[in-house]
Point group: C2
Amino acid sequence: MATYRAPVDDMMFLFEKLRDNSHYNSLEKYKEVSPDLAKDILEQAAKLTENLILPLAKVGDETPAKLENGIVRTPPGYKEAYKKFVDDGWVSLSCDPEYGGQGMPKTISSFFDEMLSAASLSFKLYSELSIGAYNCIFHHGNDSIKKKFLPNMVKGTWSGTMCLTEPVCGTDLGLLKTKAIEQKDGTYKLTGQKIFITSGDQDLTENIIHLVLARTLDAPEGTKGISLFLVPKIKVKEDGSLGQRNGVSTNSIESKMGIKGSATCVLNFDESIGHMIGPKNKGLSSMFTMMNLERIVVGVQGLGISEIAYQNALNYSKERKQGKSHNSKTKNGADLIIDHADIRRSLLNMKSIIEGERALSFWLAQQTEVSLYHNDSKIKQQASDLVSLMTPVVKSLFSDMGMEITSEAMQIFGGYGYTRDQGIEQLYRDNRITPIYEGTNSVQAIDLVFRKLVNKNGNIIDNYIQLIKQDIEKNKKINETKLFAEKLNQYLKILIDFTDWIEKSIKNSKDDVSAACNDYLKVLGLVAVGYSWLKILDISYKEIKNNKKFFEDKIETAKFFFDRVLPRIETHYKSGISGSKNIMNFKFD
Amino acid sequence: MATYRAPVDDMMFLFEKLRDNSHYNSLEKYKEVSPDLAKDILEQAAKLTENLILPLAKVGDETPAKLENGIVRTPPGYKEAYKKFVDDGWVSLSCDPEYGGQGMPKTISSFFDEMLSAASLSFKLYSELSIGAYNCIFHHGNDSIKKKFLPNMVKGTWSGTMCLTEPVCGTDLGLLKTKAIEQKDGTYKLTGQKIFITSGDQDLTENIIHLVLARTLDAPEGTKGISLFLVPKIKVKEDGSLGQRNGVSTNSIESKMGIKGSATCVLNFDESIGHMIGPKNKGLSSMFTMMNLERIVVGVQGLGISEIAYQNALNYSKERKQGKSHNSKTKNGADLIIDHADIRRSLLNMKSIIEGERALSFWLAQQTEVSLYHNDSKIKQQASDLVSLMTPVVKSLFSDMGMEITSEAMQIFGGYGYTRDQGIEQLYRDNRITPIYEGTNSVQAIDLVFRKLVNKNGNIIDNYIQLIKQDIEKNKKINETKLFAEKLNQYLKILIDFTDWIEKSIKNSKDDVSAACNDYLKVLGLVAVGYSWLKILDISYKEIKNNKKFFEDKIETAKFFFDRVLPRIETHYKSGISGSKNIMNFKFD
């Protein structure tokens, strides 16, 4: 079984030294969230995930969730663990105190998301979508709905789901068919089938609050005719107590490659009673509140799984002996594989990506909080635009890198990595959902190039590039970071050229842009991680006296990233701008 | 379940148009292997793999091989299919007529390897190692051993294995501990444990011939004290009939991520009677005959699995409708996803890699036959050197690309790709062993840079580069292929620079070379595939009038490869030559 130590030190380094967003720091509601409080929470979270959650990963893989007589049974031990999880208040970590939450910012809760993902993604998913549903209801529900449903969701005794996909519509929600017929009392009766519903049913909570996209009878075609409904599994009476079963049933659950502990359900809605959330026909935009936050969390899942894979590969490389290293002092027998240059290269590749991603994710957490809660609407909007720019990048880059890193970890284990005992292959299988769900990574890339670079508020990518330029200029003047800043600047120039190419091509050949979007996303993502490393370097050289080992480690890891990871940008650029004529004209048999 | 159509047309194109090795063409023993014969065999092989073998893939995944009361049971249907497979003579395809084989060259049998791998890698493995063992005995066994064991192995009623790995030794065979004690009659008694033994036991054949590496009592330490032994599961009497059980038993079988239909065994040898094969203490070099041929086959496995993944992704993209393409003519509803630029790019990426690899593999098959059977020892040695150079490249590149391609296929299937019904995720899991077994891809890369570039016969990589240069120079003079030749020449220059860097660095810092070896292997591999495409282009422009659709398709696919795949070389080079000081000095916690 894989082992795990939550990287609290690295998280606290970010929380203490890279909380550098002045707008975030001025948010009144988080004034009292001190490093001491953060540390206390992260240490408790570490205990929970290392001890209680981690063992659930293997159990869930070996004894998947199953459907028995119409009821979904979670794997052995999930119920008991979920009860403790709820009792200790972990579901409510980031929720609003008005509904019983602890009101912690994403600068803390996203670290918790990372830890949970590392320990057991399957277990995490049972509460993750609840938070998504909570966010959606919190931002778009009316007061009576909020009062009726949120407190139990925050407590964790009720959970939530997002019901979007149908058999013929995944990416293209315009095709969805579920019908909602208005009743005299203002409620709706929903009928249709939803598929791939994560935690669509389970035996952990007393009720499940489904958020369902559907069409009213008079709705226009396509995406402009989609409304959002709240459909409880068990109807809730006016006094908040549970009533009768609603018309929602589990048709089947998917047999999947990984995250087997998580129940992925086909749900049948059969004249189930629902409440409309937000304005009619505007369901997609309400759902997107939740989708966007969720997409960032999927990126963080990839990060968490990368971390645990790295830790296990590192540990194994310090135990396994094979072959002589070039500087071997061993007379009889072999050296530890960590003494071999190629293994070290692989480990540093993982480490440099993981720590850079964590810093980028922390930067994004600050922006997200500003985008949700800043008083100045202009500042709020600017942050919101940056968040919406970086959401597809973080989702795709971190989940793809999660595959690279879990794969490299398997290689370090050799033949043992392919067997089920070590837990490494499970990480590889579990992470493989992350480039797919919440919109495949290609869909993210299309979203990025066609909707996120430039919007009604102006040229968002340009604003982001300016931010990076400022840090580059600042660091060019510092002896220690000068060379790093100059190197990043070379790659930033490629990003700028690629962006110009996108902006030009979008007018003449949208297919050129579509064929380039995955490469563009990677270029932007790698520059963003490089930018995060530059921030870390800046701090590291300043603080090196205070913790030599920690900051030397950061500086050397950054060097690796600049030397061996950033050069990928050149290939992506060259490949990306080669056009689509040949691609579009190709005659597939 | 995945569907499969063996790509006989593409294979026949190679067989008819790219059989361009004059030394191969002069081999007396293959004079009668005409295109008509090849086509006949490939069509029969297509029928077999599409109809009989393909359904075994899913069965094997759902009902893995298991150990019952000490006996390995293969999945349902394997026994019946294996019987037909043997009865129809498929095991003997490439074996020598002297022992009952059909004597077909690798220019045909490697296509068959590809088809079998695509249809069911697990099923294939039950006969694949038999051929490996056959090759080893054929080249190193004495006449009496050959006469006693080979005919039944060729027939397929007996199978073979390679027993190298032990719990503490995989890559580093110098550590192996299995003991062989000489008996008065000249046989040996072997005692020890071997792990990860593919088809170590099964219920398909009457006997299993294990080839086992072990140490005699007086053997020197390390790799210089390893001998090779033939150890039958059931002892064979002088008259060739089966006697009593030998001291070989199955301790357990591995629970694996994929290829679940294949039994991967832990074998206990307990005073089992064995016969030494080849000279004492030279067991490794005898085993390497088999290992090297086997490594090429692993590459071909990756190619076969890539092909079936591509076919299924292509089919799905012609059925699934999502979203509007940029040139949509659809009024209501969505377009087929094959109309979207990004999906087309992904499909062409797969196709351009697959067809280039197949051509490279065909080139290598010709060289391999020359290396085994040419009368002129110099020509034979030159071919042998090229084969040994390209063996680690084909093994690693094709198996890694197999992961890229099966992964891209999954992405095209979206959420459905992650469920078990479609068979795509199984291809991804099954292929994941190929970068690991027969020496991990990093071990291949180390082998390449330290042992294969230059050997006692001279500078092998330089000879290979000269071959490519000749084709480039020739094609520079042809209008249609001029631009392709020039582009390939740019990348060849990078290969030359990288090679110079390796040759210099190997003197001063072997760690620099070790840290660069994976990147170097990729550069050499991509250039080699580009070289194969240049050969295809040369033919295609000449032949275009004879089959417009086929050759236009080739030309357009080649364009994609040159525009969008070859640029990866730049990143590998830049990353590769960045040195190892930082990597070697890093203090891992």
